[in-house]
């Protein structure tokens, strides 16, 4: 469904990524991991055609992203990223309408119910907390019924309950046939949802692999530069040196 060939990304003189090959099929959750500034968000944006790669190509259903119009891309992929500015007083329901592909009120209602937004429907965005606004963004992703979701830290700002809701949603949507590519920071969350993992090391190197092979202390420790303990779905950084 989404094929990455020899992708090289530069930001200024810094090489973020060099020569990445990967192929993702529908129905899975791909988690992008890596330290700050490694180019995780940039990788998502290059898939959206919003960041021009230094080399290589990305194709979706056989068509190169670079050759698609913005409209075509917007019908294939949905992007969830930074909280949008709130100065202009958009309401929750207007925000969702701007995202929706069509005037499907039932779908909007469903998304709002799932994200606990029904009571906030007519509130302006600048009257919401960051967590509430993040839920609006996830709902906005849901109402845009596209085969690929690109989610940049979807669990940011969320409380524990809504983090769980969000991860469950991603898993469920992937099982129903969507391709979800998401940037996460929490190893537990990554382990909970990932089918595939892209690990960026911040120096141009990247590794792609099946989640349970990738999410091991041996793979992760050199990339993040911290001690990690545990195995399987229970990975923990070591916050303090343990005194023995």
């Amino acid at each position: 469904m989404l094929v990455i060939q020899d992708l090289t990304l530069h930001r200024g003189k810094k090489v973020l990524l060099s020569g990445l090959y990967a192929e993702f099929t529908a129905g899975q959750v791909v988690v992008v991991l890596g330290p700050n500034g490694a180019g995780k968000s940039t990788l998502l944006q290059s898939m959206l055609g919003m960041f021009t790669p230094a080399a290589g190509r990305i194709t979706i259903d056989g068509k190169a992203v670079a050759e698609c119009s913005r409209q075509d891309l917007a019908e294939k992929m949905t992007w969830q990223g930074d909280l949008p500015p709130s100065e202009f007083g958009l309401t929750v329901s207007q925000r969702l309408h701007l995202s929706a592909n069509g005037p499907d009120e039932a779908k909007n209602q469903q998304a709002m119910t799932l994200m606990d937004l029904a009571k906030l429907k007519h509130r302006a965005l600048d009257a919401l907390s960051s967590g509430e606004r993040q839920r609006v963004e996830i709902a906005a992703t849901m109402v845009r019924d596209n085969p690929i979701w690109l989610m940049d830290e979807p669990t940011a700002h969320l409380d524990l309950r809504h983090q769980v809701d969000c991860l469950q949603l991603m898993k469920k949507e992937a099982q129903q046939g969507r391709l979800i590519i998401t940037v996460l920071h929490d190893l537990q969350q990554a382990a909970a949802v990932a089918d595939t993992v892209i690990l960026l090391d911040g120096n141009g190197g990247a590794e792609v692999g099946v989640a349970n092979e990738m999410l091991t202390p041996e793979h992760l420790m050199p990339v993040f530069g911290v001690q990690i303990q545990g195995e399987g779905k229970l990975l923990m950084p070591m916050y303090f040196e343990e005194k023995q």
Binding site: Q45, R70, A74, W79, G81, P84, F88, G89, L90, L98
Partner: protein, 315 residues
């Protein structure tokens, strides 16, 4: 704020426009009934002096409000406005420069104003990424700079300087250098263009990345908006000089009443700006009778408190 209110509100704005126009036609040195003027002279005053003035005010007010709304989306800043950003002044500089270089051609002034507006926007855009405060600061400083150049140019042409300075600095609706039918046509065209772009503008409210992800060709849209906003500012300035704050007050008020979706906001602003400027001008020509005030004095008196209030509220 909700959508059921949109159409009744727009309809009442339309009715209000008609009422304000008729009443302003009647008001002046003495009351003249727009439906039955008492004498031949009254009828001429009504149709040849008051009606053009009311229509110029309507068109210019609407254009300024539309330009204000566009600038606000373009810069992602609800305090942006042609006058505050110095774009109105740079257009005035361009118009006067055009007039000086090619005194014989009428188009020189309009083209000069357009070039001036374009330069003004380009200079202020360099500061757009630095955030609200610095953008506004840059706008204010640039406005002072353009005003200084304007004064310099006017000082170089003393034979028309002083009176023109008044007109250019504070607005003058008693005549227009652009024929009235054209001005109204431009008003209609600008509104239409705005409505065509409304959906994309809405998406731009979410920021450039979100807009692009939602299928908007942001670069093309921004370029188009720049072209549109500078053309509209230039035409408004050529017609009536620099009149401040209409572009700030009106879109803001309309957003409060109608929410922020542009189809409603632009439609309402095009009429609301017209209404505001007709009212301001009617006051300008009657409050200190027999003398009249420059209309820009009145819009500034309403606009500056509104601007400061918004600035306080913006945290």
């Amino acid at each position: 704020m909700n959508d059921q209110r949109t159409w009744p509100l727009l309809l009442s704005l339309l009715v209000l426009t008609a009422v304000v126009m008729v009443v302003s036609l009647g008001i002046g040195s003495h009351w003249i009934s727009p439906f039955s003027p008492a004498s031949e002279l009254d009828s001429r005053i009504l149709w040849e002096l008051r009606l053009p003035r009311v229509l110029i005010a309507f068109a210019v007010g609407g254009l300024l409000a539309l330009a204000g709304a566009w600038f606000q989306v373009l810069l992602g800043n609800p305090l942006a406005e042609p006058y505050v950003l110095g774009v109105a002044s740079s257009a005035a500089v361009g118009a006067v420069a055009g007039m000086m270089l090619f005194p014989e051609t009428i188009w020189a002034m309009s083209l000069g104003a357009f070039a001036g507006a374009w330069i003004g926007i380009a200079s202020v855009l360099m500061f757009a990424h630095l955030g609200t405060t610095r953008l506004l600061l840059a706008g204010v400083v640039l406005a002072a700079f353009w005003s200084a150049i304007l004064m310099l140019l006017l000082a170089l042409m003393p034979e028309r300087g002083v009176a023109l300075a008044y007109a250019w600095m504070m607005g003058d609706l008693s005549r227009s250098d652009i024929a009235l039918p054209y001005l109204l046509l431009v008003w209609g065209g600008a509104l239409l263009a705005g409505l065509v772009l409304a959906r994309s503008l809405d998406k731009l409210l979410l920021g450039e990345k979100h807009a692009a992800a939602l299928g908007v060709d942001v670069r093309k849209l921004r370029f188009g908006l720049l072209l549109l906003a500078s053309a509209v500012t230039a035409i408004a300035v050529t017609a009536a000089g620099t009149i401040g704050f209409v572009g700030l007050i009106v879109p803001h008020l309309m957003r409060l009443l109608l929410g922020s979706l542009h189809r409603a906001v632009l439609l309402a602003s095009a009429f609301g700006g017209g209404i505001l400027l007709i009212l301001a001008d009617t006051a300008a020509r009657t409050v200190i009778t027999p003398a009249e005030l420059p209309v820009g004095v009145l819009t500034a008196m309403i606009g500056v408190p509104v601007f400061l209030w918004l600035l306080l509220r913006a945290r």
